[in-house]
């Protein structure tokens, strides 16, 4: 690629905009591709942004101010979106000759598989396009020929185990993000208000199309361990609904349940680690820069927090706060976010303390101090970039522990309140049927947790090897302790 560069390295003082004007073709093509990809999902993007806007406005102004935004949200549903169940419906019935109501008259199974495959293709395609954009920028438009970050990224790109982790993590993200479109049915219809929704089906005896409430249909589609009452993996129930990974004991579609459960897990994991990471970074920079008393106080506090048994504290915490207002946000997920942020920051702080202490000894920090830069600027500009990578390593591993803990709590019946799906609750619901034909109810959620946690660990390993190639030969003791999990 280097020979294609039109500029002599190091001598280039033009702005990015000038460089693009000089050679517009790759940038324009890339941008056109991006716009095209985003247009396919325009409806979903607008809908999503408006929903966030309305949530913000509700929080700021209270109800009543919302009619315009509410109308806009409703109107945005009309914008065609490629990856939605309206475009590719999978709910239909067999009228004796052909499928009615499904995508192109295909069977519900094929329709659903088409939609799911498209969702994954689209998402990975979009990400690949963004990656390509980065490569174009780096090869053609960036001022610097080379930055240390390039080496880290290239090392990660050659790290098979890390890439496997990234693949698993992205698949999990897509599952959570596209939960409404990925499941064969929706949360509201299938889980929250099943008796307020009707579906049509073809009654073989009377040869007519009849309708039945989803709640009733669910009861007839339950999986309870005996061959007469089981809707297993890749099978239809008697109302011609397709269940890719079977149903639960009360007839709820397991994949829909799992997809929404992924959302909750992801929300809790990401938010609490973001919050904990923020606390840890701030403290890590301050303690490394000032040392002394600040460091000592933080050491003692973090030791104290780490001496608390996490699962037991969580059980006590959730029960004590169960009737407060904060426990009502997102079925209790916000409460868990606060808890895990408060419990996990010491682990993250420990992991960045060493690197932060090393960075502060560097000459460039000294130099910045000597020409009078403010401590805050030194920390943000000259220290932060070197410790963010470590945060990513331990953050991704800690998310795994948090996902397991949350699932463990909901297995015990606390934490995330029903009907909001959570993977641990599926494990618990299927417990009586593990060694029967309905084994899927317990097995699949647990398998998914194992897969996601393995993926997060592999991703963390990959990043660690990328930012710190020597780490493989140095002792990995400390970090193993910090990511040892909670025992859930």
């Amino acid at each position: 690629m280097l020979e294609q560069r039109h500029t002599a390295s190091g001598e280039d003082s033009r702005t990015l905009w000038q460089r693009i004007r000089n050679e517009p073709r790759p940038a324009v093509l890339w941008l056109a591709g991006l716009v095209g990809l985003l247009l396919l999902e325009a409806g979903a993007i607008i809908h999503f942004s408006l929903q966030i806007l309305s949530a913000v406005v509700t929080a700021g102004l209270g109800d009543g101010q919302l009619s315009i935004i509410a109308n806009a949200v409703t109107a945005s549903d009309q914008i065609p979106t490629l990856l939605s169940r309206e475009t590719i419906p999978n709910q239909g019935y067999w009228n004796g000759q052909r499928w009615v109501g499904t995508f192109l008259g295909l069977s519900p199974a094929v329709s659903w598989a088409t939609r799911a495959t498209l969702i994954y293709l689209y998402s990975f395609g979009l990400l690949w396009w963004l990656w390509r954009g980065y490569r174009i920028y780096r090869d053609r438009y960036r001022q610097a020929d080379w930055t240390p970050r390039d080496d880290q990224i290239d090392r990660f790109a050659n790290h098979t185990w890390g890439k496997f982790g990234l693949f698993v993590v992205i698949s999990f993200l897509i599952m959570a993000l596209f939960a409404p479109a990925l499941g064969p049915t929706t949360f509201v219809q299938n889980i929250q208000d099943p008796y307020e929704h009707q579906i049509q089906y073809f009654n073989d005896e009377t040869s007519t199309v009849e309708s039945v409430s989803v709640g009733q249909a669910n009861l007839d589609a339950s999986s309870r361990g005996n061959p007469d009452q089981n809707v297993g993996i890749m099978s239809y129930d008697r109302y011609d609904r397709f269940h890719p990974v079977g149903t639960m004991p009360l007839g709820v579609d397991l994949l829909t349940f799992l997809a929404y459960g992924a959302r909750v897990s992801l929300f809790i994991g990401l938010s609490s680690i973001a919050l904990a990471g923020f606390i840890a970074t701030a403290l890590g920079l301050i303690t490394a820069y000032y040392k002394g008393a600040a460091d000592l106080i933080t050491v003692v506090t973090s030791d104290s927090v780490q001496a608390l048994p996490v699962i037991m504290l969580a059980i006590l915490f959730v029960v004590v706060f169960q009737d407060t207002a904060i426990a009502e946000f997102y079925s209790g997920a916000v409460l868990l976010v606060i808890l895990f942020a408060l419990v996990y920051w010491p682990y993250l702080w420990r992991s960045i303390r060493g690197p932060a202490l090393q960075v502060v000894e560097k000459d460039w920090v000294d130099a910045a101090e000597s020409f009078g830069q403010a401590p805050r600027a030194i920390m943000q500009k000259h220290m932060l970039p070197y410790i963010v990578g470590y945060l990513l390593v331990y953050g991704s591993m800690s998310i795994g522990s948090i996902i397991i803990s949350v699932a463990g709590l909901s297995y015990l019946g606390i934490g995330i309140s029903a009907p909001m799906p959570e993977w641990g609750r599926a494990v618990s619901a299927g417990q009586p049927y593990v060694a029967s034909v309905s084994w899927h109810i317990t097995f699949i959620p647990g398998f998914l947790i194992t897969l996601v946690v393995t993926g997060l660990n592999a991703f963390g390993d990959g990043i660690r090897d990328a930012i710190d190639p020597q780490s493989e030969t140095s002792s990995g003791t400390e970090e193993e302790v910090t990511t040892g999990g909670t025992g859930a």
């Binding site: 050491v299 003692v300 506090t301 030791d303 104290s304 927090v305 001496a307 608390l308 048994p309 996490v310 699962i311 037991m312 504290l313 059980i315 006590l316 915490f317 029960v319 004590v320 706060f321 169960q322 009737d323 407060t324 795994g400 397991i404 699932a407 463990g408 297995y411 015990l412 641990g424 494990v427 417990q431 593990v434 060694a435 317990t442 097995f443 959620p445 647990g446 947790i449 194992t450 946690v453 393995t454 660990n457 592999a458 030969t473 140095s474 002792s475 990995g476 003791t477 193993e480 302790v481 040892g484 999990g485 909670t486 025992g487 859930a488």
Partner: protein, 358 residues
Amino acid sequence: MSRWRYFARRVVLSVPVLFFGITVVFLLIYAGPIDPVSAILGQQYTPSAAARIRRNLGLNQPLWQRYIGFMMDVATGNLGQSWVIKPGQPAFQVIWNFAPRTIWLGFWSVLIAIFIGIPLGFYAGLNPNTGGDYLASFGGIVWRAMPNFWLAVILVSLLSQSEQIARVIGLQFSWSSWLVTTDVVTPPNLRFFSDPLGAIRSPQQWWIIPGSDGSFLAALKQIIPAAVVLGSASMGNEMRIGRTAVLETINSKYVETAKAKGLSSRVIVWKHVFRNALIPLVPIITGEAFLLLGGSVLVEYVFAINGIGWLFFQAVRQGDLPLAGALMVLFIIVLVSINILQDLLYTIIDPRVGYDRE
């Protein structure tokens, strides 16, 4: 800083740690949004009973006075009493009655993890990049990522149905009647321990054939599945660290020197590699205590072992908050003591401590 001064500093620093932990517990239970009295009484709420409990718990005093009283009680070893689970019994007595089964479980899970995890890790480290290494390493990674409660649920179901499953593959096997007859999900009967002399006097009853007091073998067989599950995360950790530690030691200069001297690989492995590779495993083994205490709630719940983890969950669920608080305080004390023990081990095993560690 000398080694022992380092150790002394760690011990002194653990005092504020204890203080903090116990304060958090106090605040959660007595200053949190839930009223301990109505939690205790639940459906049977009457004003007179509430007033009695309120007086008994000292809830009429201001918060700071209660806090000082609570701290003094903990310092003098008084953990209060149970109100719902065993009304009127001192909390310490209740915990004492439930603890043996958890200790039995914890003992075996540590032992199994050590005796499977470390040898596997050392094997992988001594034969790096072979098929066996990859299998062991990958197995360890996945094994570590599995949620304990899920593993426990699967194991319980498989063991309860072992007869039907064995028949499918043409075998005659039933876990519950294998060696000695036991149930899969019941607490182990540990009463045989109250008669330690029985181990010599009537060895058959004590060790093997379970009578009304149970036997060693029966109790062991009942605890093994739970212990394997509870030790799973630690087993994976020990394997990984063991592998890295061996790899690191084997590539170090003194091992090269030993090789150059012409020592046999047996002596090198056992005398030089093995001992040094054990050092980084110390925090892993002591760190297991955290996993065990936390995990015991879920594992004991699934296997229906009424140990202290199970007791804690029941106490929280049934509103016996004073008992739950007492358990938390006890756990924190145990964890801090284990941390001190870890520092002591470090100080003894690793002469470099205090030099490169702060």
